[in-house]
């Protein structure tokens, strides 16, 4: 080639150097070109809670007055029927104690390996539809453990009172079952370490002598919470 200048020789030298550099870069470990980081992913699986409530769950359901000795046959009001309806004591006298046999059965199913709590409260006081007066539910309506059948309780068997809830109640008119929204749960009426359980309860009613005549009602609300 005639007349290759110094500048042309330098350019060629640079190009050759860049090519060598590129070739050298290809030999570098891949790690130098990549970066890694890690992050922790967590999630909570909400427990599943199923609750079924069956009133008047065994034949022979109904109210008996508190007597010593031979027990009378249970009776009930028109709104109670086998496996449903309300816990209807029917006609009772003020100042006397009545036991309602086979009042409710609770069946609880959860996927909680640590069990569950059951809360039971009155949505309101025992309310007289006839004149609008009330008597405290905590002095009037009680619950006590029962059995699937052959209930041994009598009207003198002691129960524990239902307390009036301090939660926020929605609904609760005579024909409308209420719901209760809790910010703090009360003391449970039952606890389980197992994921499932069945509970049987009798109810008792002791209307004070001072109560006015009329038709009274209260909704008892059961809440099951997985632990």
């Amino acid at each position: 080639m005639v007349g290759v200048t110094t500048m042309e020789r330098r350019g060629t030298t640079r190009i050759r150097g860049i090519g060598i550099a590129i070739a050298m870069m290809a030999l570098l470990p891949v790690a130098v070109l990549a970066s890694t980081a890690s992050t922790v992913v967590t999630w909570r699986t909400n427990a599943i809670v199923k609750l079924s409530l069956t009133p008047n769950y065994n034949s022979g359901f109904g109210a008996v007055p508190a007597v010593i000795g031979a027990q009378p046959a249970p009776t009930h009001g028109p709104n109670a029927f086998f496996d449903g309806g309300s816990v209807d004591f029917g006609t009772i006298e003020a100042g006397k104690t009545y036991l309602y046999k086979y009042a409710i059965e609770l069946n609880v199913t959860t996927n909680s390996s640590t069990g569950f709590n059951i809360y039971g409260e009155g949505a309101a006081d025992f309310y007289n539809l006839t004149d609008g007066t009330s008597v405290p539910v905590s002095q009037t309506v009680y619950y006590l453990p029962s059995t699937a059948s052959s209930d041994p309780n009598t009207g003198f068997s002691a129960g524990a009172p239902f307390m009036k809830t301090s939660g926020a109640v929605t609904g609760g008119g005579y024909a409308t079952a209420p719901t209760i929204a809790y910010t703090t749960y009360p003391a449970p009426i039952a606890q389980s370490l197992s994921a499932t359980g069945t509970y049987y309860y009798d109810y008792e009613v002791k209307v004070p002598n001072s109560a006015t005549n009329g038709h009274y009602y209260v909704w008892i609300v059961y809440t099951v919470v997985a632990k």
Binding site: F156, A158, V218
Partner: protein
């Protein structure tokens, strides 16, 4: 003579029969009420003692722990704290009519609640009152507990001091109907209308577990 003898015997028999009938009519159960006694038991405190170490010499450190009920905070405060729950309700109802016995035998309370710690004794002055409302000049009031609180919590751990104006010198343990041969015990004999205060003295065995226990104090009026 024979006829006169038979007549005398018949008269004597009729007289005795009348007396027997009169006595039976005189003493009868007239009314019966119950007051539910509810006891919320807190377990006895636990103590842990630590042996002295080389650095502490002969000092013994002790730590106390108390079992208390935990209040569980509910509600969806954040997505990470959703509480799984389910709810059902049942209506309880009754048609209330007057008691034909009126206020013959009444209590001012249907139930009494006592909060106490296992291993302690609690006195509740005038926990409730019992009133006999009658013009009958002689009646007999019986009392007793229907059953024990629990197998490990005898009803006789509950004593009563029943009085008109001033408490008696000592409280008397309740009879327990199911333990004491199915009997009640006479607590007062009197006449007319009277109202009694009932002080309760409860001694809870230290072995009783925490929880809620209940029984019924039953009052029966005879005349």
């Amino acid at each position: 003579m024979k006829r006169a003898g038979r007549t005398a015997l018949l008269a004597a028999f009729l007289t005795l029969a009348s007396i027997a009938v009169a006595l039976a009519l005189f003493v009868q159960q007239r009314d019966q009420i119950a007051v539910t006694i509810i006891v919320n038991v807190t377990p006895a405190p636990r103590m842990a003692a630590y042996a002295p170490t080389a650095t502490t010499g002969s000092q013994i450190r002790a730590a106390f722990t108390l079992d208390t009920k935990r209040t569980i905070r509910a509600g969806a405060l954040s997505l990470n704290n959703l509480v799984a729950q389910n709810q059902q309700a049942v209506r309880v109802e009754a048609s209330v009519q007057p008691n034909p016995l009126g206020t013959l035998l009444v209590s001012n309370l249907n139930s009494v609640t006592i909060n106490a710690t296992a291993g302690t004794t609690v006195v509740v002055p005038c926990a409730y009152t019992i009133t006999v409302n009658t013009t009958v000049t002689y009646w007999d009031l019986y009392d007793g507990l229907f059953a024990d609180f629990a197998a490990t919590f005898p009803g006789k751990d509950l004593a009563n001091n029943t009085y008109l104006t001033s408490p008696l010198a000592t409280a008397t343990p309740f009879y327990v109907y199911s333990d004491d041969g199915g009997t009640w015990t006479s607590v007062e004999t009197n006449g007319g209308t009277k109202t009694y205060c009932v002080d309760l003295t409860l001694s809870i065995p230290v072995s009783v577990s925490g929880g809620t226990y209940s029984t019924n104090a039953v009052y029966t009026l005879y005349y």
